[in-house]
């Protein structure tokens, strides 16, 4: 395999696929790395060989990915599935692990298109088997043709919940309760954003239809739920929803949760790039320009890992980044400027509803109101109580709390707990979450074997170029 590439794209979701295909079509040597077995990312997962029954449920929007995947396949880009990137350097070097062995490759440009993840929000019982993230279970359905065993309860907030409920319902899974935690006040704060959103009536109408359908199809639909719990000894057996201080208990074999989507920033943080805080959706996102450029000339970010805007926008952003890179590397064709303009227009149109939806489904205000006994760090089993005790004993920096409590030190490398750690610390100290420095990310950003590291093929150390770990 070649070591040097013009463009290395990490992630083969809509942004990565569009970016890689476009770059390759313009004559650049492109390498695409993705840890999934086939292109598509989370939204179009397994698009190339989907089961008919699942396809029928996922519908038109999912099919959009088929064109993209085909485009990637024939573009001439080298696509490597089941390949996990675990280090990105500021000079465009990427280390990745494939089938238990690691190597380093060099790109003139690296595009980070690693997408987003569901916001992990701890609650009592969330570590029990049978509790899972709703969007993740939908992805599991796409890749493996499996649905959770009913009765299923769904809890949380956000459009994805409705979507998943719809999919399961159509596949005959018993969804007996739907606990919506979207604060009713959100509607008010979303109103100012309604006007631009109205230009996408199609989108809004779809949302309303989805909501109506879900309400009809699920056993019980409860609005205004403040928080929820999973109950069980070795597996979830029931779910408790709290509303106005009153608790409702329903039997459940599965609890699916969803609390919105946040960008995956592990590489931009590993590179110590500047990040900005989004006060509405409460997450950090890398500081990039409209082409996805970061402050490092070799590093670009495309798609939801730059800011969560959804699949169609991600595709457009990937394409926009590709054109910007083509221009920088002197590959752009005569029409690129025009294309860029039209893509920007399409993206703007796509984003019309976004502020409305973001405001409508902003995270509930009690994210940090986790009971003391609740495990915050799933890997190291650190409770909210431990974190609070450390804060009150004078530990005011998240890194300090991590070092003493081991919160964030396990195999997931803090992915599941760092945002809640910050939220809890913020509320304990009375600070704003954005004033607490997020946890450091050091490579390997993915777990690798010791033997694998010993035998990895690394590029010679270039002393002149500072590594960025």
């Amino acid at each position: 395999m070649k070591t040097k590439w013009e463009v290395i794209v990490v992630g083969a979701g809509p942004a990565g696929m569009a970016c890689a295909a476009s770059c390759a079509e313009q004559g650049m040597g492109v390498l695409v790395l993705d840890e999934q077995p086939s292109p598509g990312g989370q939204i179009y997962r397994n698009i190339e060989r989907q089961r008919d029954k699942v396809l029928a449920v996922l519908g038109q929007e999912y099919l959009r990915g088929a064109g993209l995947a085909t485009r990637l396949r024939i573009s001439g880009a080298e696509y490597k599935p089941l390949s996990k990137a675990w280090k990105v350097e500021s000079n465009g070097r990427v280390c990745f692990s494939e089938n238990g062995s690691s190597r380093e490759v060099q790109g003139k440009r690296v595009v980070l298109a690693i997408g987003a993840m569901e916001r992990p929000v701890p609650f009592s019982g969330w570590t029990l088997p049978g509790v899972a993230e709703a969007g993740g279970v939908d992805a599991f359905l796409k890749s493996d043709g499996l649905v959770p065993q009913g009765p299923v309860a769904i809890a949380g907030s956000g459009p994805i919940m409705l979507l998943v409920a719809g999919h399961l319902n159509k596949l005959g899974v018993e969804v007996n309760s739907f606990f919506d935690t979207t604060p009713s006040l959100s509607v008010l704060s979303a109103l100012p954003h309604l006007l631009p959103a109205l230009r996408r009536v199609d989108y809004l109408a779809k949302g309303v239809a989805m909501l109506m359908e879900t309400r009809k199809s699920v056993g019980q639909y409860k609005r205004g739920v403040s928080h929820y719990e999973a109950v069980g000894a070795e597996h979830v057996t029931a779910v408790v929803a709290h509303k106005h201080g009153k608790a409702t208990t329903v039997p459940a074999s599965t609890l699916l949760v969803h609390e919105g989507i946040i960008p995956r920033t592990e590489f931009t943080r590993q590179l110590r790039l500047a990040h900005k805080w989004d006060g509405v959706q409460r997450y950090w996102y890398p500081d990039i320009d409209e082409d996805g450029r970061t402050s490092l000339p070799a590093i670009f970010v495309a798609g939801d890992s730059g800011f969560v805007h959804g699949g169609v926008a991600a595709e457009l952003k990937g394409e926009i980044t590709a054109l910007a890179i083509a221009a920088e590397l002197g590959k752009g064709g005569a029409f690129n400027e025009k294309r860029q303009k039209s893509l920007r227009k399409q993206l703007a149109h796509e984003l019309l509803t976004r502020s409305f939806v973001d405001a409508m489904y902003s995270p509930r205000p009690n994210l940090s109101a986790v009971d003391d006994h609740v495990t915050v760090c799933r890997c190291e089993e650190v409770t909210a109580k431990t974190i609070r005790a450390l804060v009150s004993s004078g530990q005011t920096a998240p890194e300090q709390v991590k070092a003493v409590s081991r919160c964030g030190m396990g195999p997931c490398q803090g992915r599941m707990c760092s945002s809640s750690l910050i939220e809890i610390m913020a509320s304990e100290t009375g600070k704003n979450a954005q004033d607490l420095p997020p946890l450091n990310v050091r490579p390997p950003v993915r777990n690798i074997g010791l033997g694998e590291l010993a035998n990895a093929t690394l590029l010679p150390h270039n002393a002149a170029q500072k590594s960025s770990s």
């Binding site: 280090k87 280390c95 110590r272 004993s393 004078g394 530990q395 005011t396 920096a397 890194e399 300090q400 070092a403 003493v404 081991r406 030190m409 396990g410 195999p411 490398q413 050091r442 490579p443 390997p444 777990n447 690798i448 074997g449 010791l450 033997g451 590291l453 010993a454 035998n455 990895a456 690394l458 150390h461 500072k466 590594s467 960025s468 770990s469």
Partner: protein
């Protein structure tokens, strides 16, 4: 602003411990840190408390310190996560074994009886993961492992409890020596006054000395550690192999810490380290050579920290010979964590004009005046520590 007895610049363990013991003697002390206490070397090191094969010059310190580590609960109200693991160095062949025998004889002669030779069978028993070719080794049972973060937290809390004051996010940007002590200029606390000033600024000690018109041969150095996923219990002691650059230990929680003085890239402009995977790969290769289970080992994370290093890898402890009233405690060259409680006691005594429990002969800064040009061109070889003390 009232004048204090002593200002410690640097809230690592050297500063915290020295200030703590002085505060307990009723002195007014201030600890300043540009970041926060324990942010650098003292809070992020590998936690190794080793007397085994420590340099002869440091033996009085480490033995004093060991006694303290075993008694931390009483000293600072927390065990600092210290527990006895023992340290073990294996020999790969007879030649290496002979070197270890010589070392054991040497320390015994000096009156220390903690270093014991062990045979092949005992080695197998204590560290079954060491590859089969190893013939024996040397061991010190009293040594152990502590939690650096918890140690810093506990010393900070104890210091505050003893009446000391700590200012975090308070960078020292200038120091004026005067007739009656020092005026220290800071970013967040304005001017502060003290009778004496202690430079315990770790990786920044050279820079700080320069600020006061002194020179110190202390350079920043980045050291790195690999950490694995939890594993079933494989070994209790810290294990090294004679002549190889590697330390290996399994923490109480089951994770392995693998290090050996492998360097991280240093960016002093931003005051941070970046992992250097050529170094970490070298580390992994040695581990792969020497330990039998390496295929099962999963690396979960890596980290690095900044320490200050001197040309001969010995610390600098003592008054400046250029600026009266200025005291240096720095240059611990990647192995100061274990010594820190004892260093604190010694420094506190010296600052109060008392006779310390152990002397500082060999650690004074003057040694570099005498050999300064020699050092610059030709670093002193490090005979006694058998090249291990600068790994840790």
């Amino acid at each position: 602003m009232k004048k204090v007895d002593c200002i410690f610049i640097g809230g690592g363990l050297m500063g915290l411990a020295s200030a703590l013991f002085m505060a307990r003697d009723g002195k007014k002390v201030l600890v300043l840190d540009k970041d926060c206490t324990g942010k650098h070397a003292s809070g992020v090191n590998a936690g190794g408390v080793r007397s085994l094969k420590r340099d002869i010059a440091e033996l009085p310190y480490i033995h004093g310190a060991l006694a303290m580590w075993h008694n931390m609960e009483k000293i600072v109200g927390s065990d600092c996560g210290f527990y006895q693991t023992g340290y073990l160095i294996a020999a790969e062949d007879d030649q290496a074994m002979r070197e270890l025998e010589q070392r054991a004889a040497q320390t015994r002669e000096l009156g220390y009886d903690n270093e014991m030779l062990i045979g092949r069978d005992r080695l197998r028993e204590l560290a079954p993961i060491v590859r089969e070719h190893c013939v024996g080794g040397i061991m010190s049972v009293k040594d152990g492992h502590a939690s650096p973060a918890e140690t810093c937290r506990a010393f900070h809390a104890a210091l505050v409890g003893a009446g000391g004051v700590v200012h975090n996010h308070c960078e020292v940007v200038g120091i004026d020596p005067g007739e009656n002590g020092f005026c220290v200029h800071t970013t967040s606390q304005g001017k502060l006054y003290a009778e004496q000033v202690v430079n315990c600024a770790g990786a920044w000690a050279g820079k700080l000395a320069h600020m006061i018109g002194d020179t110190l041969p202390v350079e920043p150095v980045g050291a790195s550690v690999l950490v694995t996923a939890r594993m079933p219990r494989l070994l209790h002691p810290f294990v090294a192999v004679q002549g190889r650059k590697l330390w290996f230990n399994q923490a109480r929680n089951g994770t392995l810490l693998i290090c050996g003085g492998y360097l991280a890239d240093v960016d002093m402009e931003k005051g941070l380290t970046r992992m250097n995977f050529h170094e970490l790969q070298a580390c992994a290769k040695v581990a792969y050579d020497l330990f039998a289970v390496t295929d099962d080992i999963t690396i979960v994370r890596s980290w690095a920290g900044l320490d200050g290093e001197t040309p001969d890898h010995f610390p600098i402890i003592g008054y400046s010979n250029k600026v009266p009233g200025l005291f240096h405690v720095c240059g611990f060259s990647k192995h100061g964590f274990a010594l820190s409680p004892m260093v604190g006691q010694v420094v506190s005594a010296l600052l109060q004009g008392k006779k310390p429990e152990v002397g500082i002969a060999g650690f004074e800064v003057e040694r570099f005046d005498r050999v300064s040009d020699l050092v610059a061109s030709n670093p002193i070889p490090h005979e006694n520590c058998g090249n291990l003390s600068n790994y840790k």
